[in-house]
């Protein structure tokens, strides 16, 4: 077990190092260097020279690479071209945005997993019946939906139509709530993006759960449990469902990259101030340091999450040994 973890950890470290290197070379290819950007500014030539000197663009690439690596490992992601919520350093900007994204994604993910598992179990049990076909087609339709468009439809129904939820931001403008009221306001703003994110993801979980459960329901121990006289619900949720967890956890880990892609769209649409909206803003302002930082952080986060999932396997299923 320890050996397996160490082996995976080594692989993770190498991958992260490659990502950092890849990031360095990718962003050197970006159009528009610092000198052309400075031409527009009204600063004096001396100041411009000093900025160029500090940015280090006139040094050979390997020296730039070395100093880039050094700053990466000390947690310095550079300075943004624009300032965001009063922050200018990329690491600070990203750090201030992470909580919003994490809260949104974790809640949506939990919703999607629970709902997806439930739908999968029901579909497997009612296999071939109208309920199965209906739920399966709905899952497939949700799966082939652009996330942001689904959100637009939900906004059309619940915000413009029924007026139940606010359509943007994290808090009601012009209010200064404290304590529980602030939390309640936050949750009210989060409901719609979370619901949207969760429903879009339900499809892949439900489909996976259904096909795994169909296999499991043919196993001998299910017949045995039935012979013992357990109720159907007990057999489905206590005997069969736990054994479907392994394929589910694989899908959950694989889905993370898609989930973050969805977060970029939803945060942009709902003006939810998280990492995704930051990335959208940075892209359209061509604010390369911020874009680079966001790309790096999201990639590393996904690699680490996959690593954690991998270790969890060992605990979920003791048969996994390598």
């Amino acid at each position: 077990m320890v050996k397996r973890i160490l082996k995976r950890l080594l692989f993770v470290c190498i991958t992260i190092f490659i990502v950092i290197t890849f990031n360095f070379f990718l962003f050197r290819l970006m159009p528009g260097d610092i000198e052309t950007r400075l031409q527009k500014s009204t600063a004096s030539q001396e100041v411009k020279d000093r900025i160029i000197e500090e940015s280090g663009v006139n040094k050979p690439w390997y020296e730039q690479y070395a100093s880039y690596l050094k700053s990466m490992f000390s947690g310095d992601l550079g300075t943004a071209y624009n300032s965001y919520d009063g922050h200018q350093r990329v690491a600070d900007i990203i750090w201030s945005r992470i909580p919003n994204t994490v809260i949104l994604l974790v809640c949506a993910e939990i919703l999607a997993i629970l709902l997806g598992m439930f739908i999968g179990v029901v579909c497997a049990y009612k296999r071939g019946r109208p309920l199965d076909t209906g739920l399966l087609s709905a899952s497939l339709a949700l799966y082939s939906m652009p996330t942001f468009w689904f959100a637009m439809v939900l906004i059309f129904i619940f915000c413009s139509g029924l007026g139940w939820f606010p359509a943007s931001g994290v808090k009601t403008a012009g209010t200064a709530y404290h304590g529980m009221k602030l939390v309640a306001d936050y949750l009210k703003h989060m409901t719609l993006p979370m619901l949207c994110m969760g429903l879009v993801m339900v499809g892949s979980y439900a489909i996976t759960m259904r096909s795994t459960m169909i296999d499991i329901l043919t196993e001998d121990y299910i017949t045995t449990a039935r012979a013992k006289g357990f109720s159907t619900r007990y057999i489905l949720f206590k005997h069969a469902a736990p054994n479907a967890m392994l394929p589910m956890s694989t899908i959950i880990a694989l889905n993370l990259s898609v989930v973050f892609g969805g977060a970029i769209q939803l945060e942009t649409l709902f003006s939810w101030p998280g990492l995704g909206m930051l990335m959208y803003k940075a892209l359209n302002a061509r604010d390369y340091p911020v874009l680079q930082g966001c790309f790096l952080i999201s990639t590393v986060a996904i690699i680490l999450a996959n690593f954690l999932m991998d270790i969890l396997y060992g605990f979920i299923d003791p048969r996994v040994k390598d």
Partner: protein
């Protein structure tokens, strides 16, 4: 000699035709496949002939207050958008762009994925190891951020850049699938026989292995088109669309900043539903073709 060659060619053609005939029969017999084919055929017809029969030019905008955000009427069946353009005309020319981007990007993805998969699986050893590590690396990169970063490499968003970005980001899972199929095809006896006759590596890979993995490549490609169209839509929403060629994604993107706040639902509900239908159509077709063409699934 000449005669025998001609005969064998004719025989092969007949066999291929019979195989294709069987394939068509199976598609028609499979309800999922048939539904997918009908949906896609409808949208392809719409993309090809729609713009020809529409009385409105989608690029013309009479930007007057009266022509903006007209709700659906007999004159404008699906209403008009923020610039007074006819939504139905836009929808038809948008179908061309969306389908074109989706199919071209998939072509790049499949060529890259198939090439890497076959070479990796057939050559093996060091080359396999290297190619698979590169593939693994591309698999872990988060999809949309990677697209955004690649797109930022270009100063302007042209349709070609977008095709390139989508094509370059999606090949890794295809390479994995093709590689595993190549590994099993490689073990078959006729490959050994061909080697013993003295055939070269490239000859075997492209004359013998490629035709055998092709059914898989084909059904995989159909599935990937749906993903490519969805990616194009998402990129357009994030501001990465070609403004001179408005796709469905661009229509949705425009609507999200304008039509949504004035309640002009016709500007985005229908274009979005079209994206969903096309993606669903390709997905249904892909899964059904996979069932028909994939020898592994057939035996079950």
């Amino acid at each position: 000699m000449e005669n025998a060659k001609r005969n064998s060619r004719a025989l092969r053609r007949t066999l291929r035709r019979r195989k294709f005939g069987m394939f068509v029969k199976q598609v028609v017999g499979n309800r999922m496949a048939l539904a997918g084919v009908i949906i896609i055929a409808f949208f392809i017809l719409m993309a090809v002939f729609g713009p020809m029969i529409m009385p409105f030019d989608p690029t013309i905008n009479g930007e007057t207050v009266e022509s903006k955000y007209n709700s659906p009427s007999w004159e404008h069946l699906l209403g008009t958008d923020s610039l007074g353009r006819d939504v139905l005309a836009n929808l038809m020319s948008g179908a061309r762009v969306s389908l074109f981007v989706g199919i071209s990007a998939t072509l790049i993805t499949m060529i890259l994925g198939t090439l890497i998969g076959i070479v990796s699986g057939y050559v093996g050893g060091f080359v396999d190891n290297l190619l698979m590590r590169v593939t693994d690396f591309f698999l872990v990169l988060p999809w949309l951020p990677f697209c955004m970063v690649l797109a930022a490499l270009f100063d302007k968003n042209s349709i070609w850049n977008i095709i390139l970005v989508i094509g370059l980001t999606g090949w890794s899972s295809t390479a994995r699938i093709i590689r595993s199929q190549t590994l099993s095809v490689k073990e078959q006896q006729y490959v050994e026989r061909t080697i013993s006759i003295g055939a070269g590596k490239w000859h075997i890979m492209f004359r013998h292995i490629l035709p055998n993995v092709f059914p898989l490549v084909f059904s995989e490609a159909i599935l990937i088109i749906s993903g490519s169209i969805l990616t194009e839509t998402s990129l357009a929403f994030l501001g990465l669309g070609d403004p001179s060629r408005p796709s469905w994604g661009m229509m949705l993107s425009d609507a999200s900043s304008g039509a949504m706040s004035v309640g002009a639902w016709w500007c985005y509900i229908i274009p979005g539903a079209c994206v969903v239908l096309v993606a669903l159509g390709f997905t249904l077709m892909g899964y059904a073709f996979d069932e028909i063409l994939n020898p592994k699934l057939k035996t079950r």
